[in-house]
Structure formats: C-alpha cells, structure tokens
Symmetry: C2
Subunit: 276 residues, 2 copies
C-alpha cells in the first residue's frame, strides 16, 4: 500500500476513455483505491491541489488569453456539487463561473440545444464549470425519448464539432463522468431523506430516473464512446468514495492548468517613467 500521491499523468492514464476506442462502462469500477489508498492522503492532496489551482487561476486571469471549461456529468447524487465545493473551495470567485443546467426554459427550447451552452462558455481568463451540460441532450433526452432517435444520433458529431470549435479558439475542455454504483445512490438518497439539512435536495422524481438506471448507464456509455475525442476526452471517475473522487479530479485539473502554463503579462511599464 503506497501513500504516495499519484502524478496527474497517472490519474489521466487510469481514468481516460481512449478516443476512438470502443468503451464498456462495465470495465470501469465505481470505486478505485489504487491511486489513493488512504482517504486522509486523498483529502490532503485535494487541499494542496485546491490552493495550487487558485494560484494558477490568478495567473490565467491576469494573462487573459485562455479559458478552462470543466464539465461534470453524473446521475443524481453522483457528487457534482460536492466536487465543485471541494476542488474549488479556495479559488477566487473573480475568475470562476459555475453554470448549473436545469430543465430548459421556454426561451431556451426555442433555440437549438447548444445555444444556452455556448452563451455560458467561459470568457478568456476564466474557469467555467458546468454542473450538467449539453450532454443531458444525449442522456435524459435520449432515455426519456424527448427527441427522436435520428436527432439524437446526429448530436454526438455536433457536440464534437462544437467542442473542437471551443478548443481551437482558446478554451481547454475537461469532461468528468462521476461514476457511482446503484447501491451508493440508494445510500445517498436515503441520507437526503434522513438528514434535515439535505432533505431539500431530495426529489421524488429522482426515483423515477433510478428505475431507468440501466437505460441511463447505456446512454452514458454511448456518450463516452462517441464523444471522447483527442481535443476533449472523457474521464470516468470512480465516485463511490467522495474523498478519492475529489482528489483524482483535482489532480487532473491542476495538471491541465500547469500544462496550459499561463503567464503574468508584462506590459513593459517601467516605474521610472511615471511620477506621482
């Protein structure tokens, strides 16, 4: 049992869905203790990465040339909010923007499904976080048959083209599927019912989705296979353990920001040129 912290490359290798390969969700565990054997190490690592992410974000903001978009997808209770709270716990709110995509409004439905998404894309210098995203349009929309099959089939390529467009125009994209077991969901739904501070999160409608568990998993599998691309691969994150989920995601986000290597601009002002 190793207590060392894995590199972000280790985590990438363990979680990535290789672009262009077939993908089977059954091969992906919902719990993985290989990378972070010890919970306390996972928590300490997340905290350290959160501080590093804050520093990198400051530089990204000052530089004002690139953006990072973090997309979080997962079934109810998979931990999208919890991930945001812990990984971005100390990031300055100045250059951070969270968009929670809910059921589309009437106005949104009068446009194509990427319209509201494009509007929420992070501006240069920002980290944008999507809590759900355009992927709902090939997940719940598919499972609930809210659009016809041909329409949905065309969306995978449309999404890939859209994400390629964003990438080519200065936005790095990270996509995390938070992967939990059906038992873990039952546990978490029960705790939403039992704990007074969580009760507001419970929605009987979530149980209807739970009954369609297998259909949702099939839709996730197709989504990952079709939309894991070189410019924006999917990472499938074992998320039954919250501390390890946070630690793995924080490692990848920090590593990506380090790769983006933002720099403080030097506009060339010289103090001797100014007198005041």
């Amino acid at each position: 049992m190793s207590f060392e912290i894995p590199t972000s490359e280790d985590v990438v290798d363990a979680l990535i869905a290789k672009p262009g390969k077939s993908f089977d969700l059954k091969d992906r565990p919902t719990r993985n203790e290989d990378l972070f054997a010890d919970k306390h190490v996972a928590r300490a690592s997340t905290e350290e990465d959160a501080h590093a992410i804050n520093t990198l974000q400051d530089t990204l903001f000052a530089e004002g040339k690139q953006a990072l978009l973090v997309i979080l997808q997962g079934i109810d209770t998979a931990g999208k909010s919890g991930t945001i709270k812990s990984v971005f716990s100390v990031t300055s709110p100045l250059g951070l923007n969270v968009t929670a995509f809910k059921k589309p409004t009437g106005l949104e439905l009068e446009h194509d499904y990427l319209w509201r998404v494009h509007k929420a894309a992070p501006r240069k210098g920002f980290i944008g976080i999507f809590d759900r995203s355009h992927y709902e349009d090939v997940l719940v929309v598919k499972v609930r048959e809210l659009a016809d099959k041909d329409t949905i089939k065309r969306r995978y390529d449309q999404i890939n083209a859209f994400e390629k467009h964003l990438t080519e125009n200065g936005t790095r994209i990270l996509k995390f599927m938070l992967h939990i077991s059906k038992d873990t969901q039952a546990e978490r739904l029960r705790s939403r019912l039992e704990e007074p501070h969580k009760r507001w999160k419970f929605n009987p409608g979530d149980l209807a989705d739970r009954e369609l568990w297998d259909d949702f998993m099939d839709a996730y599998e197709t989504m990952v296979e079709k939309c894991s691309t070189d410019h924006a691969p999917w990472y499938v994150v074992p998320s039954d353990s919250k501390s390890r989920r946070n630690a793995m995601i924080a490692r990848i986000i920090r590593g990506t920001l380090e790769e983006m290597a933002p720099e403080y601009p030097d506009p060339g002002w010289k103090s001797e040129d100014y007198n005041f």
Copy 2:
C-alpha cells in the same frame, strides 16, 4: 487598546452614511483602528466570518427565496478585488456570482444604463457581487462629462427607485465605498509598477483619473449623500489598511446574512414513504 471583535452592529454604526442626512466625505477617515486595533485580530476575524458566510450562503441557496447583492465601489487600487478574494475566500462557487462592470459595450450603450445591471442581478439563493456598478454612471460619467448634467441629476432618484424595486422583490443590498487616501493610492500604484505579478494591473489611464482626484471625491460624496437610503444605505469603509477593511466588510456581510435568517426548507419527505 481592546482586542475584542466588534459586533456587526458596531461596524454598521461606525461606517453607515445615515439616510436623509447631509454627508461630508472629509469627516470620514481613510484609516480607522478603533474597531480593529490589531491587524492579526482583524485577519482572524475575517477568516472566521468567511467560514460563517459560507455556511449561511449554503442555507440561502437551499432556501432559494432571497438574494444578497454586494456592491463595491472605490477609486483605482481601493481594493475591490482584494476584498472579494478575502471575504469570499471559502464561499462555495455554486451560489456566488461576481460581475465586474467595465466600460459599456456598444450593445450595452444602446440600452439605458441600468439594463446591463438588472441582467446581472443575483437570482434567488445567490450572493451577487458587483465589482463597480451602476454607480459608475454617476461617477466616471459625471467627472468625464460623458452625459449631460440634467441626465446625471435624474439618475440618483432612478437608482434609488431601482434598488427599492430589487429590495421589495427579495434582494437585500449592501453598498460599500472603499475609501483610501491619495497617498495610499500612490503607494499602491507604485507597487503595481514594481512587482512583476502586479504589473498587468497597471494602466497609465489610471493616472489621468488620479489627476481628477478631487472631482472624483466630490462625485463620491454626492453619490453617498443622495443614494444612502433606508432600503440600501452606503457604508464608507476606511480602506488604507487592507486587513481592517476586509474585517469590517466581512462583519457587516455576516451580520446581514444572519438578519436575513435563511432556513433549510423542509419539503416534508418521510423516509418511510420511500423504498429503494
């Protein structure tokens, strides 16, 4: 010399510009060590309040009925960004939204000056922070004569009516004028020139504004006098000391959120009603 932490009421009393009274900016110090004599106590107090603000914000978000709007105004280097970074250092980004108002775009100028502001108003459950605001329309616009005098004169009442509207519809408003001395600005501008990580913030245009210091202070004075209302009073924060500025603002924000008294909703679900 007391090391006790002042109550938020103490801070409110010390900083408020009383609605309906004449207001003289010269009576307001840019440094005040009465409330927080010791810097370290000020820092510890800010940190504790930041955690309390995070907890209150969680409840506000769960409740989803009220919003808080924090407006920060101040001359260049007064510390608007620094305040946001320290007071909201640990607030979950899920229910927080910062809007930095810059020079209006062409589209924004095609609308009345409150159009872009109203669009950025926080949604229910959120804390919205304005880094600059509609008050620029009676500050820089007045000093630089970007609108005619009668137009500007009418704006104070329009702004009061707009803020009353927001307040009556569930948004509590807090307005902080960060008040620094001309010497402090010189020091901070110099450090922007000298420190490589701050150089990107320096803008030679700021020096042109600095030459109009007295005109800006007159405009601030009028703004505070005319727009400190019962529903949305101005707080004039001595801001030469960053640690004390943060501590005073954090006290007032925490106190206000406590007054708003958000509560976790209880939708009445009972765990025995659900089986899964």
